[in-house]
Amino acid sequence: MNTASQSYYDRRGMLATLGKDGLIQIILILNTVVMLAPIVIMLFAAFKTNAQIFQSPFSIPDFSNFANITRIWSQTNFLRYLLNSVIVTGASIVVILTLGTMAAYAVGRYKFRGSSFVLMFFLAGLTLPLKLAIIPLFILMRDLGILNTQLSLIVIYVAMGLPTTVFIMTGFIATLPNELEDAARMDGASEPRIMWSIMLPLVRPAMVIAGIQNVVPIWNDFFFPLIFIQKDNLKTLPQGLTTFMGEYTTDWGVLFAGLLLSSAPVIIVYIILSRQFINGMTAGAVK
C-alpha cells in the first residue's frame, strides 16, 4: 500500500518534470526560430532576384548565384567602408586598452593620495550618455580641426570606452597577487619593468574581456559618424550602409546582400568566439 502510493507519486513527479521540461524546450525552440529566421531570410534573399524574394521569401536559393554580391563588390564603396571600420575600430581599441591599462594599473596597484578620486572620475563617465553632449563635442572637434577625419571618431570612442575599461581592469588588476611583484622589486627591477614584464602578461585575460566589450559598440556605432563624417571616403560600415540603402531602393536582392555582407564579419567572429563575446558584452552588468 505504502510502496504503491510512493511509486504513484514518483511517476506523477516524473510526468510533471517531463511536462515542464517539454514546455521549456518548446519555448526555447520557438524563441530560437524567431531569433534566427530573420537572419536566414536575409541570407537566402541575398542570393535571389526581386521576383524570387517577393514570390517565395522562404525558399532555398541557388547559392552559386553571386550576382548581387558582385554588384556590391564592383559598384559600391563597400570595401572602402569596411576598411574604414577596421581602421577606426582597431585604432580605438589599441588606444583604449593602452590608456585604460595605465590608469587601472596606477589605481589598482599603488596606494597614493587621490586614487579613489581618480577612480570616481572615470566611473562618473560610466553612466553618462555621451550622445547628449553631441553639440559641445561637435564644436570641440571643429575647434580642434578634426571634424571629417577618422581621428574625431577614434577620439570619441576612446572617451566612450575608457570608463568601463578602467572599471573592469582595475577590479582585475587589484586582485593579482603581490608576491611576484615584491620579489622583482627586491631584485632591483624598476617599476616600469615590473609592469611591462611581470604584471602585464597576467592582465591579458582582462584585456580580452575589455577589448570585446568595446569592439562591438564601436564597430556598430552609427551616431557619431552621422554627426562628424560627411566625406563618403571616410564613412564607416553602418554609415555607408545608409548611403547604399538609399541608392538601391528598388533592388531588394542587392539590399539584402549589402546587409548580409555588413553583418557577416560580426556573425562569423561571434559564432567562433561566442563564449568570449557573451562574457565580454555582459561584463559590466554581471558582477
Binding site: 524563441n31 530573420p38 595605465m102 590608469a103 553639440i135 570641440l140 553602418p238 550602409l241 546587409l259
Partner: protein
C-alpha cells in the same frame, strides 16, 4: 642618475595616470559641462551669442509648437520603456529561466538568443524595414500566404502600429542581453538554497516568485537601469526605420529624434537651433540621471534586505 626612489615612483604614477585622465577630462567631462552651459545662451548657427538665462528651457517646455512636440516625444519614450520592460526584460527573464535548466540544446539556444545583440542597430533597422514593407515585406507576404491577408497592414506607415513595430524590432534585437544577465544571476544562486527549496515546495511558481526572483535582484537592477537609460536615449532604430521626423506625422517621434532635429535641422535641413537643442539635451540628461539614480537606489535597497 635617477632621483630618490620615492620621487621616481611618484613620477611613474603620474606618468601612468595623467594621459588617461586628461583624455576623459577633455572629451567626457568638459563636453558634458559645456552642454549645460550652452543651454543658457542664444545661438546663431554655430556661433554662440548672448546669455539668455532660462529662455531656451522656457521655449522647449512652454511655447508652441515646441511644448506639444516635447510632450509627444516624451510620452512615446515612456511607452517604449514600459513596453520593452515586458517584451524585452520580461521575456528575457522567462528565457533565462528556461536556459538555466540546462536541458539538451541549451548551449545552442544561448548562442542563438544573443546573436542579434551583436548586430548593428543599423542592420537590424534596415532588415525589419524591408520585412515590414507593405507590399513586398516578408511579414505581409506570409500573412497573405496563410490566408490571413486581412491582417496585412502598412505596419510602419500608420500611426496605430508604427511605434509598436519599432518596439518589437528592438525587442528582437536586444532580448538576448537581459536573458544572459539574468541567466548569470541565476547560475550564481547557491545549490544548497535550491535543494532546500525543492524539499519545501513543488510549485514552480512559488520557487520563481519567492526564491529565484529575489535572488536575481542585482541582475534586475542592472537590466532595468540600462533599459531605462537606453529607452530615453533611443535614436538609431527609429532614425533608420521611420526617419528623423518620426513619421507618420510624428507618431513615432521620440526624444532622441526630436533632439537631433532641433540641434541639427530636420529632413529639409531647416530649423537648426543649438540653443533649444542644448536645453533639450540638458532636460533629457537631468531626467535620466535623476530617475536612473532613484531606480538604482530603490532596487539596491531591495537587494540588501535579502
Amino acid at each position: 642618475m635617477p632621483g630618490s626612489p620615492l620621487v621616481a615612483r611618484r613620477l611613474w604614477i603620474t606618468a601612468l595616470i595623467v594621459p588617461p585622465l586628461a583624455f576623459v577630462a577633455l572629451f567626457v567631462v568638459y563636453p558634458i559641462i559645456s552642454a549645460f552651459a550652452y543651454a543658457f545662451f542664444q545661438w546663431h548657427g554655430l556661433a554662440r551669442g548672448e546669455f539668455v538665462g532660462f529662455a531656451n528651457f522656457y521655449k522647449v517646455l512652454f511655447t508652441q509648437p515646441y511644448a506639444d512636440w516635447t510632450l509627444n516625444a516624451f510620452t512615446h519614450n515612456v511607452l517604449v520603456f514600459f513596453a520593452l520592460m515586458v517584451l524585452q526584460n520580461g521575456v528575457g527573464f522567462v528565457l533565462a529561466y528556461c536556459l538555466w535548466r540546462e536541458l539538451p540544446g541549451a548551449a545552442f539556444h544561448r548562442v542563438a538568443v544573443f546573436l542579434p545583440v551583436v548586430l548593428s542597430t543599423i542592420i537590424v533597422g534596415f532588415l525589419w524595414k524591408l520585412f515590414l514593407h507593405p507590399l513586398f515585406g516578408v511579414v505581409n507576404i506570409s500573412l497573405r500566404g496563410t490566408g490571413l491577408g486581412g491582417l496585412a497592414q502598412p505596419w510602419l506607415g500608420q500611426g496605430t502600429t508604427a511605434l509598436w513595430a519599432l518596439i518589437i524590432a528592438n525587442a528582437w534585437h536586444m532580448v538576448g542581453f537581459p536573458t544572459l544577465v539574468f541567466l548569470a544571476g541565476m547560475q550564481r544562486i547557491p545549490g544548497e538554497i535550491l535543494d532546500a527549496v525543492r524539499m519545501e515546495t513543488e510549485s514552480e511558481w512559488t520557487k520563481i516568485t519567492k526564491v529565484v526572483w529575489p535572488l536575481v535582484a542585482p541582475s534586475a537592477t542592472v537590466v532595468f537601469t540600462l533599459l531605462f537609460v537606453g529607452s530615453f536615449n533611443w535614436f538609431e532604430l527609429p532614425y533608420i526605420m521611420v526617419g528623423v521626423d518620426g513619421s507618420p506625422h510624428k507618431a513615432t517621434d521620440v526624444l532622441g529624434l526630436y533632439f537631433y532635429r532641433t540641434a541639427f535641422g530636420d529632413q529639409s535641413g531647416s530649423g537648426q537651433d543649438f540653443g533649444a537643442g542644448s536645453a533639450l539635451a540638458v532636460l533629457i540628461f537631468v531626467f535620466i540621471a535623476l530617475v536612473a539614480g532613484v531606480i538604482t537606489f530603490k532596487l539596491r535597497a531591495r537587494e540588501i534586505q535579502l
